[in-house]
């Protein structure tokens, strides 16, 4: 049985669409074309690699500075223990690597990743298993 990436219910839209929803950043801010509040439940932004403007979004925007530990521990992991929740982010590849490992424990996977300017990657992590379908 394949579970990667498997998004269910309203999130299923994202499975086919995530890559297309997030534009290249040559001219626009990375988050500009993520439909606010529709698919992404929260954004995490590493200020170290994305010092620019934060997204104007209905979904919470959670900035942090290099070390993701506290944000993940206090905000993301408790939320990831429950079904649903699609997370968008702009971080370095190092932080994405860490989040990807942590997400896997909660049956979630990176469903889209796109390198931006040097050092920054834009990505989406979504449920990847029926047990946490939103």
């Amino acid at each position: 049985m394949s579970h990667t990436p498997l998004l269910t219910h309203r999130r299923a839209v994202l499975k086919g669409g995530a890559l297309g929803l997030i534009p290249a950043l040559s001219s626009a801010p990375a988050w500009a074309a993520i439909a606010p509040g529709v698919l992404i439940d929260a954004h995490v932004i590493d200020r170290r690699v994305w010092p620019g403007a934060l997204p104007r979004s209905d979904a919470p925007v959670l900035p942090f500075d290099g070390d993701i530990t506290a944000l993940w521990y206090h905000r993301l992991d408790p939320r990831w223990r429950r079904p649903g929740f699609v997370l968008g982010g702009i971080t370095g590849a190092d932080t994405l690597f860490v989040l990807e490992q942590l997400a896997r424990t909660r049956h979630r996977a990176v469903v889209s990743r796109r390198p931006l300017s040097a050092g920054a990657t834009q990505w989406v992590i979504a449920p990847a298993h029926p047990s946490i379908a939103g």
């Binding site: 394949s2 579970h3 070390d67 993701i68 530990t69 190092d94 490992q101 942590l102």
Partner: protein
């Protein structure tokens, strides 16, 4: 879907059918996309034919399901590779040691079964990470500490079984040493409980490790013999204070006395934290303290020390305990070094204030963290981060002379063999009474570079062995090479391990090839790599 070596697709399908019936269809993973999640991100074989890949993965939720999976595999000779949280980066990640194994992913077994505040102990399942345990203790206002490795995302059980270590006091920082009692599913699906766990109704499973008769727990350290489904650990009662200070000695020749004396103080319990050796003169100018340079000749080092006014050596002692006691211990320690100068670094009262929380090295206070991954990130200082690393960690003699010899010979050998080194530690005393050196060597997603590295590191292993230095733990690429060096009496250690393996796991299904122990059928086929 790939089929494990030596099995037909029909037999493997049949095993998977039985496994699905036991754990549920949605917890059996067979597509390439799913099994790719178990690749070792830091593999030394990345994209090469020898890369160790899973044929499938299974995530059971209970001991009964683990037994059912094991029986299904045992009946058909399907290789099974248990992992807890699978974060063994630098030592194999979540990939099996033998390609084609089914990874038994125990992350769903994540219950903290018990915390006993009075006994200062806990019993956990394999999926309980250090973060999980920390959250559990915090949410209950516990006064107990865990001891954590640098990255806190691993599991208490997985880390201990691979002989991992942390940073707080003895004996807690040696995670296998700090365990008390295990529950293990054997290859035939039977459950073994060790120590007092073997006595039905005993309330002492987490108090007395040894039970009756031979001590079996050691069989499951770095092992191929069982699937650990529960483990008890002793936890550290939160101390009142933490204190760290350094003893500085001016001359090159002072090192043997420094190492001997701090060894004596540690063995006499005058301090209980992890000691550290450094060299202010060699690290002058803010050099990375985790990258110990090659130690120059004595005359040269003394000259540098005279010119700079910096001591040749310093030993940092760490104390956990009541402030009054610590102060007396430190006063006594100082009295043992009449020619030294001293630097007091920090006295931290516990529990931590929010301000202290921001400035401390969290693992030294039993607090899990992932901070070190942000430090290795691309930055002005580190424009080309690597694709990961593996650890090279020989046990060397705990003497000043032993450290100097190992530092020089390993540094020179790395240079001769063109082995890049990201980090070359001072001697580390994670394990009581022993010194290890820990080196991080970068890996790449480039087969040619990794091939060079593998050959060079095998040579480094031989050079170290020629000097009597053996690795305590290593990446799967070197399991056989390191086991080869433990060769006393025609490799009797390996031969005994093989005899035990053949007796307990006659079909050779569990953790095949791990730590250089191969089951009979693969030894006979020359399967040892």
């Amino acid at each position: 879907m790939t089929t494990p070596p030596g099995l037909t697709a029909a037999v493997f399908d049949d095993a998977l059918r039985e496994i699905r019936a036991a754990v549920g269809d949605e917890w059996v993973f067979t597509t390439p996309a799913d099994t790719a999640l178990y690749r070792d991100a830091y593999s030394l074989f990345w994209d090469e034919p020898e890369e160790r890949l899973a044929s499938a993965a299974v995530a059971p939720a209970t001991v009964e399901q683990v037994q059912a999976v094991t029986r299904a595999c045992n009946a058909r000779g399907v290789p099974l590779y248990p992992i807890s949280t699978g974060r063994n980066l630098g030592y194999g990640g979540s990939a099996p040691a033998y390609s084609g194994s089914v990874v038994l992913d125990l992350k769903r077994m994540d219950r903290v079964i018990e915390v006993d505040e009075r006994n200062g102990s806990c019993i956990v399942e394999p999926g309980v990470s250090y973060f999980d345990m920390y959250r559990h203790l915090q949410s209950r206002g516990s006064r107990l500490w865990i001891d954590v490795p640098d990255p806190g995302w691993g599991s208490m059980i997985g880390n201990a079984l691979d002989f991992g270590g942390g940073y707080t006091a003895n004996p807690y920082r040696n995670h296998f040493e700090a365990h008390c009692g295990m529950e293990v599913v054997l290859a035939d699906g039977e459950i073994l409980r060790t120590g007092m766990g073997a006595l039905p109704g005993a309330q002492t499973w987490q108090q007395y490790r040894y039970g009756f008769g031979p001590y079996l727990d050691g069989l499951f350290k770095q092992s191929t013999l069982g699937i650990t489904t529960k483990m008890g650990f002793w936890l550290f009662p939160q101390p009142e204070a933490y204190f760290t200070a350094s003893i500085n000695l001016p001359r090159y020749d002072d090192l043997p006395m420094l190492v001997d004396t701090i060894g004596e103080l540690e063995n006499a319990n005058i301090f209980n934290g992890m000691p550290g050796i450094s060299s202010p003169v060699l690290f002058r100018g803010g050099k990375n303290p985790l990258d110990f340079p090659e130690i120059p000749e004595g005359a040269e080092m003394d000259r540098l020390a005279r010119e700079t006014g910096l001591p040749c050596w310093s030993a940092r002692l760490t104390f956990y305990g009541p402030e009054q006691v610590i102060r007396a211990q430190w006063a006594y320690a100082k009295s043992r070094f009449p020619t030294a100068s001293f630097t007091e670094h920090a006295l931290v009262k516990l529990p931590l204030s929010p301000a202290d929380m921001e400035r401390i090295h969290k693992p030294s206070f039993g607090i899990p963290s992932l901070e070190m991954f942000a430090m290795g990130a691309r930055s002005a200082h580190n424009p080309n981060p690597t694709d990961g690393h593996f650890w090279f960690s020989p046990i060397i003699p705990r003497t000043g002379e032993g450290f100097i010899a190992a530092n020089r010979i390993i540094r020179q050998t790395c240079q001769r063999l063109d082995i890049p080194v990201l980090l070359f530690s001072p001697p580390v005393s994670s394990w009581w009474r022993a010194f290890i050196l820990v080196m991080a060597i970068p890996v790449h997603k480039d087969p040619a570079r990794n091939q060079h590295l593998r050959a060079a590191v095998k040579e480094l292993i031989r050079v170290c062995a020629d000097h009597g230095w053996g690795e305590y733990r290593t990446a799967p690429a070197f399991h056989d090479a390191v086991m080869d060096t433990y060769s006393y009496n025609n490799h009797i250690v390996r031969r005994v391990n093989e005899r035990i393996k053949d007796a307990l796991d006659p079909n050779g299904i569990l953790s095949v090839g791990r730590y250089g122990v191969w089951p009979k059928r693969l030894r006979e086929q020359g399967g040892r790599k």
